[in-house]
């Protein structure tokens, strides 16, 4: 009796989780931040905390709304987004090309990889002064910095993926007498795709990281400028509002990349698929 009851419980719990369905499960992720925000709001309202340095959600929302009303939020967000977009595109193209040729040809790997690995060891922020000298203080240096940040994870990801393509599957291609281009199209590309998507996503993550660095170091617009502006004028709510905007936009762009790739990766024998 007791054993039966003990066994039934996890099953019932699982059934409860399953019943949440397709739209319910993603909402589970919201529980923790929403509860934390509500508790903080209550604490400030009840006078348990001043909320001056850590503004409560209502103040942040008000600031957010104010900035959006004035069109400031959109202006800064779109400046940041276009920098990330440009840097991401350049970084992805360069990283993909470099990773593809070094993954495919052992000679080119011997030739290029050591230099690229050495460059990778340099903290990318260290380039900033040089980039500013080379590309000026405006968009050029910022986009270059972001591209550098995006380049390395993409480069490493695709090179590693090509090098670890299953030799046995390549042999299947050879047995069916595929030409070099057919081998790339029908065996290498699909085999590399899962790792490539992952590399794109980590590249995008670094792109968002580096745009903040670039904008903190001097910008007249962008979400990073809102951060600095909030610090200098003592407006913590504005800082948190900008951080929230970063989180929302970053998560959204990652979601776009992941879901654009999902139809091509349905074949994967993944650990969990829900």
């Amino acid at each position: 009796m007791t054993i039966a009851a003990a066994e039934a419980t996890p099953q019932q719990r699982k059934a409860g989780f399953d019943r949440l369905g397709r739209y319910g499960k993603p909402l589970l992720g919201l529980v923790l931040p929403v509860v934390a925000a509500a508790l903080w709001e209550l604490a400030v309202r009840a006078g348990l905390a001043s909320g001056r340095l850590v503004p409560p959600p209502s103040v942040i929302f008000a600031t957010f709304w104010e900035l959006a009303q004035a069109g400031e939020l959109q202006r800064h967000a779109s400046a940041t987004c276009s920098r990330v977009a440009a840097g991401f595109c350049i970084g992805v193209v360069a990283g993909t090309l470099a990773g593809a040729i070094t993954g495919y040809s052992a000679l080119l790997r011997r030739l290029l990889d050591p230099t690229l690995q050495a460059l990778r060891a340099i903290p990318s922020i260290a380039w900033v002064p040089l980039f500013i000298l080379w590309f000026g203080i405006f968009e050029g240096s910022k986009i270059t910095l972001i591209s550098v940040g995006v380049f390395f994870p993409v480069y490493l990801g695709i090179m590693g993926a090509i090098m670890s393509v299953d030799r046995k599957l390549v042999e299947v291609g050879r047995a069916f007498r595929l030409s070099d281009t057919a081998m790339v199209r029908r065996i290498l590309l699909p085999a590399v795709l899962p790792a490539y998507i992952l590399a794109l996503r980590s590249g995008l993550g670094l792109g968002w990281m580096f745009v903040v660095a670039a904008e903190l170091l001097g910008a007249s617009e962008g979400l990073g400028f809102l951060l600095i502006d909030g610090q200098q004028l003592g407006k913590p709510a504005q800082i948190v509002a900008a951080i929230v905007a970063f989180a929302v936009i970053g998560k959204t762009t990652d979601w776009i990349v992941a879901s654009a790739a999902a139809p091509f990766l349905r074949w994967e024998d993944a650990f969990v698929r829900r």
């Binding site: 047995a175 069916f176 029908r186 065996i187 795709l193 074949w267």
Partner: protein
């Protein structure tokens, strides 16, 4: 006709995997190549397939030397090696992508029906059992209608029941178009069930030790005395090939040879 002319293979590290292997295989013949590990069975098969090139001698198919993978030669590996990103049907059609779509669909459908997996056409390879996956691999190799089909221990990773099932399956498929089969195995029963001729190989360097003709009518009864007799002969040849003291008593084999007149 498939001919091997004194084929030898020495790997770059100096290991001599094959030495002077000569063999003639008639069209439609089923030859099983058997031997212990390290006797060059797989090396031999890879040389025939054109995936590796022999260091000495040559492989000739219908008068033309084989130096790279050949359109008339198909190969089935020990693992199914299905492409995980293609559906079962697309895997089966992998080798005929240059054909018009209509013909492709028809031939894929036919091949899947023939291996009994029609209802799995739209499924991903990961959803197949080991035996099903190997059946898909067989269908994939047969769809381009090869004249010669090479099999590299294709059933060795499967459980005994599935193995027997697939051996029968393979024979049924062979009967459709009668390609030449060269079947590498280390399973004596499998060699006798399938082959017209069993080539026994010996190791270091790999070469042919003995050839035994299995002249039994198909389908072959695995329990029959004649089957048992063939098995004794092959086991004795295998023992000799390893220069071991003969563990299968050859006198008994000879006695059996006398009794064997009735088959």
């Amino acid at each position: 006709m498939l001919t091997l002319e004194r084929v030898g293979k020495t790997y770059p590290n100096g290991v001599r995997a094959l030495e002077s292997v000569s063999l003639e295989v008639e069209p439609g013949e089923i030859v099983a190549v058997i031997g212990g590990s390290g006797c060059g069975k797989s090396t031999l098969l890879r040389a025939i397939s054109g995936l590796d090139t022999p260091s000495q001698g040559r492989v000739v198919l219908d008068g033309a030397p084989v130096t790279r993978p050949h359109e008339k030669i198909g190969i089935i590996f020990q693992e199914p090696r299905l492409l995980p990103w293609l559906s079962v049907a697309d895997n089966v059609g992998f080798g005929i992508e240059d054909r018009p779509k209509r013909e492709r669909v028809e031939r894929i459908g036919l091949a899947l029906e023939r291996v009994g997996l029609s209802e799995k056409a739209r499924v991903w390879p990961r959803e197949l059992s080991g035996g099903q996956a190997q059946r898909v691999a067989i269908a994939r190799a047969l769809v381009p209608r090869p004249e010669v089909l090479l099999l590299d221990e294709p059933f060795s990773a499967l459980d005994a029941f599935t193995r027997v099932d697939l051996q029968d399956h393979l024979l049924a498929l062979w009967a459709d178009s009668k390609p030449t089969l060269v079947h590498v195995t280390h399973d004596v029963d499998e060699a006798i069930v399938l082959a017209d001729r069993v080539v026994v190989m010996r190791p270091r360097p790999g070469r042919i030790a003995d050839e035994i003709v299995v002249d039994l009518p198909r389908p072959r009864d695995r329990q029959s005395a004649a089957f048992d007799f063939a098995k004794r002969r092959i086991l004795a040849a295998l023992d000799r090939s390893l220069d071991r003291t003969v563990t299968v008593d050859d006198r008994e084999t000879r006695a059996a040879a006398g009794q064997a007149m009735w088959w």
